[in-house]
């Protein structure tokens, strides 16, 4: 039997514009705009303006002081020919693939532990969150101290259990894993988010699952994960964007010596934003750096869209029809 459905008439663009404009007849609308005006001003001047400027500059050979010429798509063609762009992109994607799941799994694990603690919960929440407040530059310096191969605290700890630790700071194969471990200490913000999500899972769902004989793993897989999937998805997107833009800690740890323009770790920590920064502020190839910035923007946008499309299969929002 064919189902009969009635659909509401879809408003055309003109109707929507008229509807939006009609709002300005109300005094409250003006007040609302007055309140958000400072933010709008800041956004236009400090975000949208520079974005438009960099889009224009990406088609020039702007280098701050020399005469600027239009170069058409030459900067974008140079990106294609520049082997370091591919190297930086490969490093960035590899680092992202290593960090994002590690952060999410560890955060969820810690949040699950915290969810079971009643009395000292707030103290532990504070302890886990404290590293988030640490300046990223300090994290970079701490990395050098903790992860010194042979003599750092990490390798000394490994030596106690009979493991000869790697050279985290100099061996190109271990630099990225070392950075992942180092940055994992600031998982606190995600722990807090996951904890809130875990506490919002209705208890009766667990009770029903238990009555049906579901094991702890099944309860986690079929109740917890779907119910907290919007939060997981949110952090997945945010972490991915953060990783694709990683800069401060790596720059502090490996590019701190102003006399060493190329850094001290070779190509192993040449991430996309580091390369972009070098082109812009070490070599002053502002036009090329702008093109690199837009390439990175495009990649982040693409990755995010792909994530959103795939999320439809995995993310469950309460109240929505599946």
């Amino acid at each position: 039997m064919a189902a009969t459905t009635t659909t509401a008439p879809v408003a055309g663009p003109l109707t929507r514009v008229r509807h939006w404009a009609s709002g300005f007849r109300h005094r409250d609308t003006w007040w609302a705009f007055a309140f958000i005006a400072p933010w709008l001003f800041g956004f236009i001047v400090f975000t949208a303006g520079p974005m438009v400027a960099s889009a224009i500059l990406s088609f020039t050979d702007y280098s701050i002081i020399q005469t600027t010429h239009d170069v058409g798509l030459a900067n974008y063609r140079s990106i294609y020919d520049d082997p370091y762009v591919l190297k930086a992109l490969r490093n960035t994607l590899l680092w992202t693939a290593m960090y994002v799941p590690s952060d999410m799994i560890l955060s969820l694990f810690l949040a699950s532990l915290l969810a079971r603690i009643d009395r000292l919960g707030s103290i532990f929440r504070t302890i886990f969150y404290l590293p988030v407040m640490t300046p990223t530059v300090a994290v970079g310096i701490t990395y050098l101290l903790l992860f010194n191969g042979s003599y750092g605290l990490v390798d000394r700890a490994l030596a106690i259990v009979g493991i000869h630790g790697p050279a985290w700071e100099t061996d190109p194969h271990w630099i990225k894993p070392g950075l992942v471990i180092m940055l994992l200490w600031s998982v606190g913000s995600n722990v807090v988010l996951y904890l809130a999500a875990l506490k919002n899972v209705p208890q009766h769902l667990y009770e029903a699952a238990s009555m049906d004989g579901a094991s702890a793993w099944r309860r986690f897989k079929d109740v917890t994960l779907p119910m907290i999937s919007p939060t997981l998805f949110f952090t997945f997107i945010i972490l991915t964007i953060y990783c694709l833009q990683v800069f401060d800690q790596v720059y502090t740890a490996f590019y701190y010596n102003p006399g060493v323009a190329g850094g001290t770790s070779g190509d192993a920590t040449l991430f996309s934003v580091i390369y972009l920064f070098q082109q812009a502020f070490v070599y002053f190839h502002m036009g090329y750096a702008s093109a690199l910035a837009w390439m990175l923007f495009g990649i982040i946008m693409l990755v995010t869209v792909v994530q959103i499309v795939f999320s439809r299969r995995f993310v469950y929002y309460e109240g929505e029809a599946r």
Binding site: G149, A261, G262, S265
Partner: protein, 449 residues
């Protein structure tokens, strides 16, 4: 009660405002009244918080431009701030920067040639060391007045040499195999960990010095033609890397080096953690302060033919394009680098060291005449220390530098990354330097357009 506090608050605010207005007016008065023609020289990269040598020269230069005033905010030269200032049409009148950057900024048109400054102030260019002058000369024009002059020699820990049975004759870069044997003798380890580096070639930073040992300049005198994959440069890197390979390999070697207390009293020399390594002369000053009792020897680096060499770098004064106070800027640069100024600064330091019981380790400048005069003032300390000061002075005439280039930062990145790739075992010296040569040629070509 609250009304009373409100009145007190308002009264205090008004009083504060009054004080601010009066103070501002008072401080503005001399400018508007007494010296209507007096101007201010704006300097970038050289503040007033330097050491005694900087401060005594600052005072003399300030007197030289009087009644004009000087504004010199603390903090080193900042490329981004400088370029932004030039681009916005309000550059500083004078900048103090690394000589290695002068060529790039000259090629970009951010600096102006000092031809008229040199002639109007009767600055004798012959008094400056050629290696320093070549760093500030671009396409035949001088863009900077050279100031300090780094000297790089081998610093050897005498007690390590003695205990390892290494003689001074063996610490000679003219004989690589002998040096390698000496390095192995001084090197110590406890299984997987390095506990003492015998000889640290100081890679990647000192690669230009090793290339020169093997007889090649990595950049042509005009700064336009890199010689990074010259067979001699490849041999130099191969040898310098072999020193590291023979002493635990790069990872163990570098991780140990990173643990050194470089500026403290437990430094690597005081703790016998290193036998010898090439280093800038400023570190002699550090050692004199942190561990004066440690017996060190300074040994010149030599080419394979036995000629002493010094890889130098240093600072310079330059005048940006659009400087609004060219005359004062020029006077300042001349005064800061004049023989009499250097001598006065040296005398002041000698007096200060005498007062505090410290050691005067000399000043090494880009001005040959100043160095001669300062050397005469050098007090005798002890036989080995006096010999070290003589060694530094003796090696200065054999100096070379990386010439001014329109793409100095890109050039440096190319060879530094190449050496790092070799150290990390990713490429052979030939592969790495071939790649660096291609990158450097491309960067210089692009910057020369």
């Amino acid at each position: 009660m609250s009304g009373r506090w409100k009145r007190v608050g308002v009264a205090l605010a008004l009083l504060g405002l009054l004080v601010a207005v009066v103070t501002t007016a008072a401080s503005a008065r001399p400018l508007s009244k007494g010296s209507s023609k007096a101007t201010t020289l704006n300097i970038m990269g050289f503040g007033t918080n330097g050491d005694d040598v900087a401060q005594s020269r600052f005072a003399l230069a300030k007197a030289a431009i009087a009644p004009d005033d000087v504004s010199a905010p603390n903090g080193g030269f900042n490329d981004q701030a400088f370029l932004a200032a030039v681009a916005s049409g309000s550059p500083p009148d004078l900048v103090y920067m690394d000589r290695a950057k002068v060529g790039t900024y000259a090629a970009d048109g951010a600096l102006q040639p000092l031809t008229s400054c040199i002639s109007s102030q009767h600055i004798n260019l012959k008094q400056y060391r050629p290696a320093a002058l070549s760093q500030v000369t671009y396409k035949g024009k001088v863009y900077g007045i050279p100031e300090f002059f780094d000297v790089r020699t081998i610093i050897a820990d005498y007690s390590v040499m003695q205990s390892s049975g290494v003689t001074l004759k063996q610490m000679n870069t003219a004989h690589p195999s002998t040096l390698l044997a000496a390095a192995k003798k001084m090197y110590q380890h406890n299984g997987s960990q390095v506990t003492r580096i015998g000889f640290d070639p100081k890679l990647p930073e000192f690669f230009p010095l090793w290339a020169k040992v093997y007889g090649v300049d990595i950049l042509s005198a005009d700064g336009l033609h890199p010689h990074l994959n010259d067979p001699r440069a490849i041999k130099a890197l191969t040898f310098a890397y072999s020193l590291i390979k023979a002493q635990g390999g790069y990872n163990a070697f570098l991780t140990f080096r990173n643990t050194w207390d470089f500026f403290g009293s437990d430094n690597q020399v005081a703790k016998d953690q290193v036998g010898a390594w090439p280093m800038e002369d400023w570190y002699v000053n550090v050692l004199a302060g942190s561990s004066p009792q440690v017996h060190t020897l300074l040994i010149p680096m030599r080419t394979l033919t036995g000629k002493p060499i010094n890889y130098t770098s240093g600072s310079a004064w330059a005048i940006p394009k659009g400087s609004k106070n060219f005359k004062d800027a020029c006077t300042w640069a001349r005064t800061m680098t004049a023989v009499s100024t250097w001598v006065a600064a040296a005398q002041n330091r000698i007096a200060l060291r005498k007062k505090s019981g410290g050691v005067f380790t000399g000043l090494r400048t880009a001005n040959i005449d100043a160095d001669r005069a300062i050397f005469k003032l050098q007090p005798k300390i002890n036989s080995w220390f006096d010999q070290n000061v003589k060694t530094l002075a003796g090696v200065m005439p054999y100096s070379f530098s990386i010439p001014a280039s329109p793409a100095s930062a890109e050039f440096q990145t190319a060879w530094m990354n190449a050496v790092t790739r070799v150290l990390q075992g990713q490429q052979t010296p030939k592969q790495a330097l071939d790649q660096a040569q291609t990158e450097a040629v491309k960067a210089i070509k692009a910057a020369s357009k």
